[in-house]
Symmetry: C2
Subunit: 717 residues, 2 copies
């Protein structure tokens, strides 16, 4: 299960080559390093901003053409319109699933669990490659444009992360730039920082919510956070906001087709409910509870379905995946076209002039108060305005204030049940799929339902159903994804209404608490299912009574001597799958001494280059403790999310196998160590907080050389 | 210098008593623990909310009476008004400094550097006591009500922290509740979490900005952050928001005197500038640069002044401190009354009807467009509206939109210079003092000045000076405090205008970058000056080339044998000031073995209780490895920010000194260890990330027992 995954390491491997390099570096290099980091952050912002704009323009235009065409045709024949609609959607969905299955399998799904895993220290093969980036961009254009019950926000986070990772290593692994320029980013730690920036940029671009992006990266995806990283992430988000805003300003004049109508704020509801009374807190709490329940149910259902898909359906090959998506697409199209057809139309509200809303909309135009198969002139089809519409517009209609009683309870309920089912079924198909927008759709539907009841029962007050829809959306997302602060800020930023902040906080607290009773958050559950071994921030309770040596299972340690015969090394490497090997040396007096840790990937580099092979079985530093450095540090760097070298790719002659190699210059001389009887809680904290990959369990020390306290670490520049 | 300070420890001391307690605990205890943590978070929110409301009501009423009285008197005699005004202010300032110097010296200043130190692992005596809490509350009522150039926001953060700490230990140290109920919080880690909640609550209450509070706690004050803590902090902030909002609703009907006029948003500028063009980005960047320069200058000047005060002025005793504050108060009053008197009045703007602003205000009422010593009927004194006013109202006037050309450049410049000087001089006097509101005043003044120039030069556009004032405020705070995300959110939350978010981000980035060229942030500088040894999140560059054993200075380690004679123990404790001692044991075969770390405070508890003394010099566990537990874990807990026990308080008879004590049950059996040649960078990361107090430097291990990898830590419940 964990094949295709590898752990990452926050630790800097301070081997001889690294230390040599450090010493050779001038002060100017530090400046260069800082400048480059900021420059790459700028590029990440610009890149993600453009990717988001490109996806948005494409999706809006495909959807726009589709609805315009369908509406034009249904003026004559509903059946022909139906066919065109289904085929249009099918073509888009097919293109999406085709791209994914043929070129970029790692781009399926939302990608957030994988990125979360990456930032927690697990590198899953394929997730940060160039092909995944393209698959994600074009795939999500197809899947979102094709009207499936999924969103483009999750994929945008993945897109941002891919862009960041690729920029950090100077392009794709195959065709990458001279890495001399980017030597700054040749350790896992700097790369992770870049990916964190990328995530934030993705959210900032998706929701046009820069602060929300920073907080999302902080709260939901990263596992390590340093305050100076915060500033860089903040900068990246700000760049995204500027890029997106500029592009939207440019599009406003109609240069981007159907895209560019709205403002920077996606669903502006600044004219929502003005004030709220204490009596309203009860229905709002009810929304929170519903959100918790439905969200937890959503997590559980999608877990079952994904489990089934992974273990039965998707094992049958690519064709099954393609057929599945096509089927889902046809069903979705049929339901979203068919159900509104079967609904009765409602008469237009009378106060049309005051609110500036035309009812019904002129024929051939989609929007609010649409006349869809209505016999009467002054009627509109409420289900069509949310079902037979782009998701963005549907949400806008659901959030809309001053449109009290626009929707009938029956229509909302129908939509809720159908869309919830569709969202569950669509989840886990082989297309890029985000859960934010579907979540907002589901939540705002029941939120508006509750709002309608409140309007009925608390007659006197000035209650806006749209406000309740907003709270519903927050509650469902909270109940499913279990975020708090970031979700709060995102909701405020996408609706541009700060007044609801305390209400959103309340609803989120309740829905998260309710959801937590049943299961973990959506991304954690999915990560677990995919076998991504996330380390939570807290150690498990039973670790208090376990010791370090129990955890490493009394297994015999596979270790290497300092100078080893190449043949022996190869057979040791073949005999197991470990990635780290302790190196044991002997002192002059014959005692053993642990001299460090050697990584498998570094050993492979040495075996392939062969230049360090020597004939003598003696250490190579006999002349004064310094080594000849034949490698630069960057040779040892493994490209992100690729398989890396394998032992089978290396061809060694029989002569080679008889040679020796001295590992001393290449090993990590001081990995972190813990005494054998330390409680596992403490080991866990060490491992998790520092982002380690290997920790040595050693016997209790026999004596102590010194103590380090705060005072010893206060060194002035 | 570092007397009166002690390090804290995030590490849980897993001694025998602790492990016994852990084993005895049932599952239900975990539930109790969680419930109690949330309950205390609720109480912190409520407590801080009420404290904030109390301070606000008091300050607004004192200031209200003062201005009402003065305005009533100046209708007849400006001189009598002047006298009354000065005396009123003097009385308030005197009461403040009297409280501080006599009862709560630790409550002087803003308290944020100290809290930052506490959350970084340094406990400064006195900062979290009950008397400090009262000193802070009443002191800041006096100092803010007395019209000094300082704010109440910093003190509120300290207030929140005090409330949190006191609740966590069940009241003041002297009269505290049975700690049995609060055993949950008997380690430094849980207490620090509470204080983090308290900080967030303080900011949330001060600015009525719940999300800003969470982010402030996260970005500025804490050094360790775990995502599940985020949720608790968020909850506390939400509680504060609800409490404050409810209280304000109650006050609206006039029950709280002069307080309760405004809404939940302090300085609502929702009717600010609608849009901005690219050409405006240049003046905004200029604002950022000015903010960076003036902010850095402010930090530097206050640093010098505080240095001088600490080393010369305040050494001369309390009376000097009191006289100093009184002098500053008189000068402040004289300037704020006198300067407007000397200013020429301006004629009222013509478009009075359209904007709904009356000009001049009716006599005897303070507010905008005030007639202060104007000869003509239709005139107002622009300097008086910002200088001779409460700070909140002054900021409201500076931020106000639709009042173009209300202020003359000359008045603004006068105010800027005078207020900047006053703020610098007031900083560091012995009263509770926040820098947020003065910073906003200074910033919005030059922001508005820049705005006026923009209005002049870019004539065509619809530019609001108030918007520029807001950006100026952000830039000065950014240039001085160097926060980014939290400041951004706070600015948005206090002005209720999301549209400016990207602009605020831009300005903050520039001002922080400019400020960072010159010095560190205000709080870091002040912490350094006060000798609070903050550990930054990044190790220093030269640590890369240092080894662990170099850091601990080749000093001889003072260690203890496992069973020690009481007399020897006392003389060792007397001979040095170390707080931690390695304990060395012997195995059967006679080899030495490091068995753990003993804290001085625990040794003192043992010496005082005497019940563990034994006559035999042999280990006490000869019967099967288990010890008699005569202490509960909570006996070893030291109350927060007190001196703690001293060796001189313990009376030992000569017989006692001849007895022995076995330390094995009480020591921390597995402190973290590092090999002697580990680079100091890595040691620093270990120390800083885990929040440690002592790390053992040991020789390289001779052999290795096992390896721990991610897989070994993935234990299912
Ligand atoms: N050199 C080794 N000798 C003996 N046991 C090892 C060695 N390295 C790891 N182990 C143990 O083998 C088990 C599997 O670990 P694994 O080999 O997957 O580690 P790894 O591949 O080095 O690290 P990761 O999988 O996190 O990248 C773990 O329980 C670990 O304790
Ligand atoms: N038991 C000890 N034996 C020898 N040196 C020590 C011992 N404890 C601390 N030191 C050294 O003494 C110096 C001063 O440390 P200090 O005594 O203040 O530590 P502490 O009081 O235990 O911890 P803190 O001051 O952080 O609370 C440090 O450089 C430290 O390395
Ligand atoms: Mg492995
Ligand atoms: Mg000390």
């Amino acid at each position: 299960d964990s094949s295709g995954m590898e752990s990452l390491d926050y630790e800097v491997i301070e081997n001889y080559a690294y230390r040599e390099e450090q010493e050779r570096r001038e002060k100017l290099f530090v400046v260069y390093q800082v400048v480059l980091k900021w420059f790459v952050a700028l590029l990440i912002g610009i890149g993600t901003g453009f990717a988001a704009i490109f996806i948005n323009i494409s999706v809006e235009n495909f959807a726009g053409w589709k609805f315009a065409l369908t509406f034009a045709i249904i003026q004559k024949s509903y059946f022909a319109g139906f066919l065109v609609y289904i085929l249009f959607n099918l073509a888009l969905a097919f293109s999406s699933v085709y791209i994914i299955t043929q070129f970029a399998p790692a781009a399926a799904g939302s990608g957030i669990p994988e990125i979360k895993g990456y930032l927690n220290g697990v590198d899953i093969h394929g997730i940060l490659l160039l092909r995944t980036l393209f698959g994600k961009i074009f795939g999500s254009i197809g899947s979102v444009g094709g009207g499936l019950a999924l969103g483009k926000e999750g994929p945008l986070v993945h897109t941002g992360a891919c862009i960041a990772s690729l920029l950090g290593q100077g392009g794709s692994t195959k065709y990458h730039l001279s890495s001399r320029w980017l030597q700054v980013f040749n350790n896992d730690r700097d790369r992770r920082d870049l990916v964190t920036c990328g995530c934030a940029a993705g959210v900032a671009a998706a929701f046009r919510a820069p602060v929300g992006g920073v907080l999302f990266a902080l709260e939901e995806v990263t596992s390590w956070w340093r305050s100076h990283l915060m500033w860089r992430v903040f900068f990246t988000s700000a760049v995204v906001a500027v890029v997106v805003r500029t592009a939207m300003g440019w599009c406003k004049s109609g240069k981007c087709g159907h895209f560019g109508a709205g403002g920077f704020i996606i669903w502006d509801i600044s004219d929502g409910q003005e004030d709220y009374s204490f009596a309203e807190l009860l229905p709002m709490a009810v929304i929170g509870v519903i959100g918790g329940l439905l969200g937890a149910l959503f997590n559980q259902l999608t877990l079952y379905i994904t489990y089934w898909r992974r273990n039965y359906l998707h094992k049958k090959g690519m064709r099954v995946k393609i057929i599945e998506v096509c089927l889902v697409s046809v069903i979705t199209s049929a339901i979203s076209f068919g159900l509104p057809l079967l609904t009765k139309c409602s008469p237009c509200p009378e106060s049309e002039a005051s609110s500036g809303i035309e009812c019904p909309n002129p024929p051939g135009v989609y929007g609010n108060y649409v006349n869809f198969k209505c016999h009467n002139e002054k009627e509109y089809n409420d289900l069509a305005t949310i079902f037979f519409n782009t998701q963005d517009d549907a949400i806008r209609n659901l959030f809309s204030a001053k449109t009290i009683r626009e929707f009938s309870a029956q229509s909302l309920l129908t939509f809720l049940v159908m869309f919830y089912t569709l969202a569950v079924v669509t989840f886990g198909t082989a297309v890029p799929a985000g859960q934010f927008v579907p979540g907002i759709m589901i939540g705002s539907t029941y939120g508006r339902l509750v709002g309608m009841f409140v309007v009925k029962f608390y007659k006197k007050m000035n209650i806006e159903e749209g406000t309740y829809a907003l709270l519903g959306a927050a509650s469902f997302l909270g109940g499913s994804m279990r975020m708090t602060v970031s979700l709060c800020v995102i909701m405020v930023e996408i609706t541009n209404n700060l007044k609801f902040l305390p209400l959103i906080m309340l609803v989120l607290l309740i829905s998260k608490a309710v959801g937590d009773v049943f299961n973990e958050g959506l991304y954690e559950e999915q990560a677990r299912l995919r076998g991504i071994p996330l380390l939570e921030s807290r150690p498990k309770y039973q670790m208090r009574n376990m010791m370090a040596k129990e955890a490493c299972g009394y297994r015999k340690v596979v270790s290497l001597p300092r100078v080893i015969k190449v043949g022996d090394l190869v057979s040791i490497l073949r005999s197991n799958e470990h990635n780290g090997f302790p190196v044991i040396d002997h002192t002059r007096s014959g005692e053993t001494l642990v001299s460090g840790l050697m990584l498998r990937s570094h050993l492979l580099v040495l075996l392939q280059s062969k230049i360090d092979f020597q004939h003598s079985p003696l250490p190579s530093d006999s002349k004064g403790g310094s080594f000849l450095v034949r490698h630069t540090n960057s040779e040892f760097v493994k490209p992100v999310s690729t398989k890396g070298m394998s032992l089978d790719d290396i061809h060694l002659s029989d002569d080679d196998l008889e040679m020796y190699i001295d590992l001393a210059p290449f090993l990590n001389p001081s990995p972190y160590i813990v005494p054998e009887d330390m409680s596992l809680t403490k080991v866990y904290n060490l491992f998790r907080q520092l982002g380690l990959r290997h920790v040595f369990v050693v016997p209790r020390p026999s004596h102590i050389i010194g103590l380090i306290t705060r005072k010893d670490l206060l060194i002035e520049d």
